[in-house]
């Protein structure tokens, strides 16, 4: 990921569509990110457990036939608030970067 600290926000973002387990979360981020976002599982699970510890997501074990049980994560109310806050700060950040990086019209203010 270009911005490492945003993995948690990405996880919160994909969980707003519904409850998902770890593999689906990484798959969904890759799909939505259209290969621009690379999520390693080695990074994903620490982020998921941190979100769970902080109370932004909750997890339940779901039994499966012929397969190991899997842990399904869902967004909590706190997580929804956190997602809104992070989305807002991301928008401000990306707008600021856009302003700085967008091409200027030459010599509009008369400075040589």
């Amino acid at each position: 990921m270009a911005f490492k600290g945003d993995l948690e926000a990405m996880v919160l973002g994909v969980l707003q569509d519904g409850d998902l387990h770890g593999y689906e979360i990484s798959k969904r981020i890759k799909q939505v990110g259209a290969k621009a976002l690379q999520v390693w599982e080695g990074q994903l699970y620490p982020a998921l457990h941190k979100l769970e510890r902080d109370g932004y997501v909750s997890a339940t074990w779901v039994q499966q036939e012929g397969k190991p049980p899997r842990k399904v994560y869902s967004l909590t109310d706190e997580g929804k608030k956190e997602l809104t806050a992070r989305h807002r700060s991301w928008q401000e950040f990306s707008l600021a970067i856009e302003e700085v990086m967008s091409p200027r019209k030459a010599a509009t203010n008369g400075v040589q």
Partner: protein
């Protein structure tokens, strides 16, 4: 490099086995079990998806496992979340330090009040290990650890400047005791020449004087020599102290780690026996 490469090519069973072993060293059994189960489920899904895309079984397994990196690295990352890593635990290290400094306090002067607070630090050390084993919330454990460290620092600050403190701080900072005493002797002369006789200064001067009479008599004969040459001259006498100081540092670092590792191994053995 060879071993690193081979670790990256673990198959699923080997990876899960390595992961379980690594987790067992650092986490409680319950955390270990759930983490391994979760990773196992993830790998199953990942392999299935890769097979559907046309991978052969072996490649699918290797690629699914590889995305977790090495088990040790993965567990290290998880440890940053769970704060249960044995080798990277600063609060426990500091409490271990408080414990050995308590020993230093006690050995130097059992009548000095410092050993009581040092004992508190030692009790908190063992309490924190027990509490960790009982899986109480990490915030409460952190508070407990900080309390012990604060207690140790407070006694260090409020205690009068005596050899007992120098002994402890010498142990902490690799400073040989005789070197510290030499410094006190120098400071004694300096304070005597500079102070205006205030009560505070007089108390300290008395302390220095007492020490000079009791402990640093040999150093007084060398006051005209440079500091460095005196260290060199006193080196044979300071070596045992230096060795003890170094030993205390090593002990402070290893004690909590060794105790917790032994405790976890004991629990794992108990679980195996019960199973």
């Amino acid at each position: 490099m060879k071993s690193r490469h081979s670790k990256q090519n673990l198959n699923r069973a080997e990876f899960l086995e390595e992961l379980r072993k690594e987790c067992a060293l650092h986490f409680d059994p319950e955390v270990t079990d759930t983490l391994v189960m979760e990773v196992d489920a993830h790998i199953t899904e990942s392999i299935q998806a890769r097979l559907e895309l046309g991978d052969i079984q072996e490649d699918a397994e290797l690629n699914a496992v590889r995305s977790f990196h090495q088990p040790k690295k993965f567990v290290s990352r998880m440890g940053q979340v769970h704060h249960d890593m044995a080798g990277h635990d600063r609060p426990l290290f500091l409490i271990g330090l408080a414990f050995v400094c308590w020993l230093a306090f006690y050995v130097e002067d059992p009548k000095h009040v410092g050993w009581i607070v040092g004992l508190l630090g030692a009790l908190l050390l063992f309490a924190s290990i027990v509490i960790r084993s009982a899986q109480i919330g990490s915030m409460r454990r952190g508070t407990l650890c900080r309390l012990a460290v604060a207690a140790f620092l407070v006694i260090g600050i409020i205690s009068p400047l005596r050899t007992v403190n120098l002994w402890a701080y010498g142990g902490m900072g690799f400073m040989p005791v005789s070197m510290a005493r030499d410094l006190v002797s120098d400071t004694d002369s300096f304070v005597r020449s500079q102070t205006d006789g205030s009560h505070w200064a007089a108390n300290y001067v008395n302390n220095f004087q007492e020490m000079a009479q009791q402990d640093v008599e040999p150093a007084k004969h060398a006051l005209d020599a440079t500091l460095l040459s005196r260290y060199a001259a006193n080196l044979p006498q300071t070596m045992p102290n230096l060795a003890v100081s170094f030993g205390l540092i090593v002990l402070a670092h290893l004690l909590p780690v060794v105790i917790r590792r032994r405790w976890r191994k004991f629990l794992a053995a108990q679980r195996r026996t019960l199973a």
